[in-house]
């Protein structure tokens, strides 16, 4: 890197910028206020010629801080990609001309807006450094798979097929998990009309035949430490021996266990002829092609009732709040066992409330069941009693709205799936500081947790035994399942390089588990590969920057270690934060948390933002030109504003928008500085938080909202109205609302008046 910082500012006049703005004036601003040593204007900057102009200056003139004054930072990223220099973007197109009316009276304020964005980009440039890859990265590309069921086996095979070594650890004596116990499985291929063989033996054989897969049976994970690319894992066997293995990424596929049927005595579990769907699989296999016989007296079953969703989908104590989803297809499959082995005249009745038949197979398989005359009755079962030598199922028929009953030789209960996980680190985390922010985090977590309101028995034995400050196992998202977002980023957990797959992530059937395993394997490979070159994984994939801290300034307050959503920061022996760069997602939440502002990235720091907001020209109180600052999350809010611009939705000319990596990275010093500099209003726009959050860093937006809830004290101290600072959740689709929030703030300022802190 060049010793001296040399700013080159390049102003584009294409896309109408030149028609709407005074380019000469912008040049002057870049030169005089921005202190750019090189300033050039080009009529089509993203063209090959424009790009070459810049590259020439980098190559021949020593420009190493490039400032592009053109379109949004989200546009033309392929054209404006230069090695070895930093890049700042003044958003003159989406940020200025597209959101302002093309009129004479608007001209002055529009130009002021553009001038400020040029100043801000130059100010940022001064404080940016070119990031270099993390040197503490590991090189291990081996994938550890924990759990030898269908998910784990598939993840192992898929990783091996992609060319990666795999260590497959199974706590039991053989591979296969639940699938080994099944008589048949739900079909996975057209015409989706008959149960099919599980194919488990072929799968096990394929694993045994692979020279890339090592299997450890009767084994558990005694300790996991390190980071992507350099995990160190102790494998303990039942016999007591322990070996240490190194892996690059981990997939946890520990599956599920069934909810306890004995917890629902009304359904008569305990009577030999009332069984779970899992037990029916054994019964069907035992029949060995002959008719299925009931356990009590071996009589051939002529009528069977399937009771769906036992203890599921309920807020009652002891019941699962979710529906396991796969049980209805299982019931259809099992009803077909009876049609096949006990004859077409064997009555099979599935009593459901909400029938769910997901997946490719689902609907076709359901129809096939109907064709085979499986009877589907929408109803709520209240009781199963013994009646003579048969069973009486009492239920309310929900279509005909009447209480009724039926007799059956056998009753099959569809029990819910409970994930096999370790303890949730955030449900049990001991807070050893009196930091009230951290406590709030913990309480929020508890609300989501299963234990808090819904005391269903969950395993508390650790699975991974993570040697992390934040707890021994993967954080749970909802109802005890391991995930960080069911829709947007599946498999990702909040522990970088460790992925969840299969029913431990959400309830699912075999077909879905196989898909899941494949997806998680690819994620794991990606993480290990990224780690090898010192880059970030999801969601800032490829980012080379990572946080460092100035030890001499650190007060050991531990906020960064507590607030990091990904458990990336441990503490060293002296109590200072110990960064594990490989685990870091580069969101900057630690930077936002630090009260003494010692944490920074080379290209993202308290200064790079702080200098931008200070670079804005603040007109004096009597100019009647207020200044509003928007700190917008680059993931959703900033794109929403860009899209608003594409739709030519106008907003106030007094606003200056600064993109941030995540609202979690917002340090309150920026707010204080902005208020002190004379800004009249401040808006923070972050992603949706809470249960159905959309924050790309899971907790960043939530943490920011909590921090900002305390900003009132600062406003009080400054004797400012609390309406001057607002924090919003903005979704990427809020293309009309985001500009409206800005305009609302402008209206508020007009109402309450200008800030007195202008100089």
């Amino acid at each position: 890197m060049a010793d001296e910082k040399k700013i080159g500012a390049y102003i584009c006049t294409g896309c109408g910028i030149g028609d709407r703005l005074d380019a000469k004036q912008l040049e002057m601003t870049a030169q005089r206020d921005g202190k750019a040593q090189v300033v050039k204007t080009h009529e089509f900057l993203c063209s090959a010629d424009g790009v070459k102009t810049i590259q020439d200056d980098i190559d021949n003139d020593g420009v190493n801080r490039v400032v592009i004054c053109a379109c949004s930072r989200r546009a033309k990223t392929d054209a404006f990609a230069f090695d070895g220099v930093t890049l700042s973007r003044a958003n003159l197109r989406e940020g200025v001309i597209w959101v302002r009316p093309d009129s004479d009276e608007a001209q002055e304020t529009t130009q002021e807006m553009a001038d400020d964005y040029v100043r801000m980009a130059c100010a940022e440039a001064k404080y940016l450094d070119v990031p270099e890859p993390n040197e503490n990265h590991g090189n291990n590309l081996r994938i550890l798979v924990v759990g030898g069921g269908i998910t784990g086996m598939t993840a192992a095979l898929e990783s091996a097929r992609a060319g990666y070594d795999v260590l497959l650890v199974e706590k039991g004596p053989e591979l296969g998990g639940w699938m080994r116990k099944l008589h048949k499985r739900i079909p996975d291929r057209a015409p989706f009309d008959e149960p099919m063989d599980t194919g488990i033996d072929d799968l096990v054989a394929a694993i045994e035949a692979s020279d890339k897969i090592t299997v450890a049976l009767n084994s558990r994970i005694a300790r996991t430490s390190g980071a992507p690319g350099q995990f160190s894992v102790d494998i303990a066997t039942e016999s007591g021996s322990t070996t240490t293995e190194n892996v690059g990424a981990i997939i946890q596929a520990t599956g599920f266990k069934l909810h306890d049927p004995a917890a629902f005595p009304e359904f008569g579990y305990g009577n030999a002829d009332v069984i779970t769907s899992a037990e029916l699989e054994e019964l069907a296999s035992a029949a060995d092609g002959g008719p299925i016989k009931r356990p009590s007296d071996g009589k051939e079953v002529k009528a069977v009732a399937f009771i769906q969703d036992v203890g599921q989908n309920s807020t009652e104590v002891g019941k699962l709040r979710y529906d396991s989803g796969a049980g209805d297809l299982v019931a259809i499959k099992q009803a077909m066992y009876f049609k096949h082995h006990n004859g077409d005249d064997c009555d099979t009745t599935i009593i459901y409330d909400n029938l769910r038949t997901p997946g490719t197979a689902g609907e076709d398989f359901y129809r096939s069941g109907q064709r085979k005359e499986v009877i589907f009755t929408k109803g709520a079962v209240s009781k199963v009693d013994a009646a003579g030598d048969t069973l009486k199922v009492s239920f309310h028929d929900k279509i005909l709205d009447e209480d009724t009953e039926m007799e059956a030789d056998l009753v099959v209960l569809d029990m819910g799936m409970i994930p096999v996980t370790g303890p949730d680190p955030y449900a049990t985390l001991e807070i050893d500081t009196d930091d009230d922010e951290a406590e709030v985090v913990e309480e929020e977590e508890k609300e989501d947790g299963v234990e808090a309101e819904n005391p269903v028995e969950v395993s508390v034995e650790s699975i991974l035994n993570l040697d992390y400050r934040q707890g021994t196992d993967l954080p749970q998202l909802k109802f005890g399942f391991l995930d960080s977002h069911f829709i947007c980023f599946p498999y990702e957990t909040r522990r970088t390089g460790i992925y969840a797959a299969g029913p431990v992530r959400r309830p699912m059937d075999i077909g879905q588990a196989i898909d899941d395993a494949t997806g998680a394997a690819l994620k794991a490979i990606q993480a290990a590969e990224n780690a090898q070159v010192g880059r970030a994984a999801h969601p800032r994939s490829g980012d080379l920057s990572f946080p460092t801290f100035r030890k001499e300034g650190c007060t050991q307050c531990k906020r960064c270690t507590v607030e990091c959503p990904f458990g990336a920061i441990d503490e060293d022996e002296e109590g200072y934060p110990q960064y594990n760069e490989g685990r870091c997602r580069r969101c900057g939440t630690c930077m936002g948390a630090c009260p003494v502002r010692v944490i920074s990235f080379k290209n993202y720091s308290v200064e790079t933002i702080g200098q931008q907001l200070k670079a804005v020209d603040i007109p004096d109180e009597f100019d009647e030109k207020p200044r509003l600052m928007v700190l917008a999350c680059e993931n959703d809010a900033y794109p929403a504003l860009d899209m608003a611009a594409m739709n030519r939705i106008e907003y106030s000319a007094f606003v200056r928008v600064i993109p941030v990596r995540c609202l979690g990275s917002v340090n309150t010093i920026w707010i204080t500085d902005a208020l002190n500099s004379g800004y009249d209003g401040i808006i923070l726009m972050g992603c949706k938080k809470g249960d159905d959050y959309q924050c790309h860093f899971v907790k960043g937006s939530e943490i920011a909202h909590m921090r900002m809830s305390k900003i009132d004290d600062t406003l009080n101290q400054l004797n400012l109205e609390k309406e001057r600072v607002a924090t919003y959740e903005v979704e990427i689709t809020d293309i009309e609302r985001a500009p409206k929030l800005i305009n609302d703030m402008a209206a508020t300022i007009e109402e309450i008046g200008m800030s007195p802190f202008k100089f």
């Binding site: 002529k302 109907q370 064709r371 005359e373 009755t377 929408k378 005909l400 039926m406 007799e407």
Partner: protein
């Protein structure tokens, strides 16, 4: 098996009967109870049991309640349920089939006007081969006896007069032979068809 009557109805007997005897009856088992048919029917409010409920009643073995219901007789044959059913059940035809079956067994509601009109209509066309609109409407009006017939006919006299004046009703229709030439051939063919159907359905 010591099944009580209540339990027996859950043993599919009526469903089988419908599958074997009713036109398109083998589709009944394919209903998934979404209710789109009920919401799509122009006379939906007039149905005591909308189609999806009828299907459920069939599965639940409610034979008398289904066959004695006047619900199916509310069908206007608009085919909206057919084109909207996500399971592609020919609901209109099933309703017609159930109505026909109930009528043939003598279980359909005796007084239902659509049932009576439909019978008059069929007899009208099966005899002459073509519809005689005057005979048909008079037949309908007078089906409850002479007094009622006069009342109904009078209520409709403006409609009739309008058609008459515009040449769209034949006042002599009552006395004309009308219909197709080969009435006897058609009658024979229909008689044969009925015989075959009766044998097949075991009436």
């Amino acid at each position: 098996m010591s099944n009580t009557a209540m339990v027996k109805k859950y043993r599919n007997d009526f469903l089988r009967e419908v599958e074997e005897k009713v036109e398109e009856g083998d589709w009944v088992r394919m209903c998934m109870q979404c209710g789109v048919c009920a919401g799509s029917c122009p006379l939906g409010d007039a149905w005591e049991h909308p189609p999806q409920e009828i299907f459920m009643m069939i599965r639940a073995g409610k034979r008398e309640e289904v066959l004695g219901s006047d619900s199916m007789w509310m069908c206007t044959s608009c085919y909206n349920c057919i084109v909207r059913c996500p399971r592609e059940l020919p609901i209109t035809h099933i309703m017609h089939g159930l109505a026909n079956y109930a009528h043939r067994l003598g279980l359909a509601p005796k007084a239902n006007p659509t049932r009576r009109f439909a019978k008059i209509f069929w007899d009208n066309i099966a005899t002459s081969g073509r519809v005689n609109e005057l005979k048909l409407s008079l037949g309908l009006y007078f089906m409850d006896g002479f007094g009622n017939g006069i009342k109904k006919a009078l209520a409709m006299k403006d409609v009739g007069l309008g058609l008459l004046k515009t040449g769209r009703l034949d006042p002599m229709g009552l006395f004309k032979a009308g219909g197709i030439k080969d009435k006897s051939g058609l009658q024979k063919a229909l008689k044969k068809a009925r015989e075959i159907e009766d044998t097949r359905k075991g009436y």
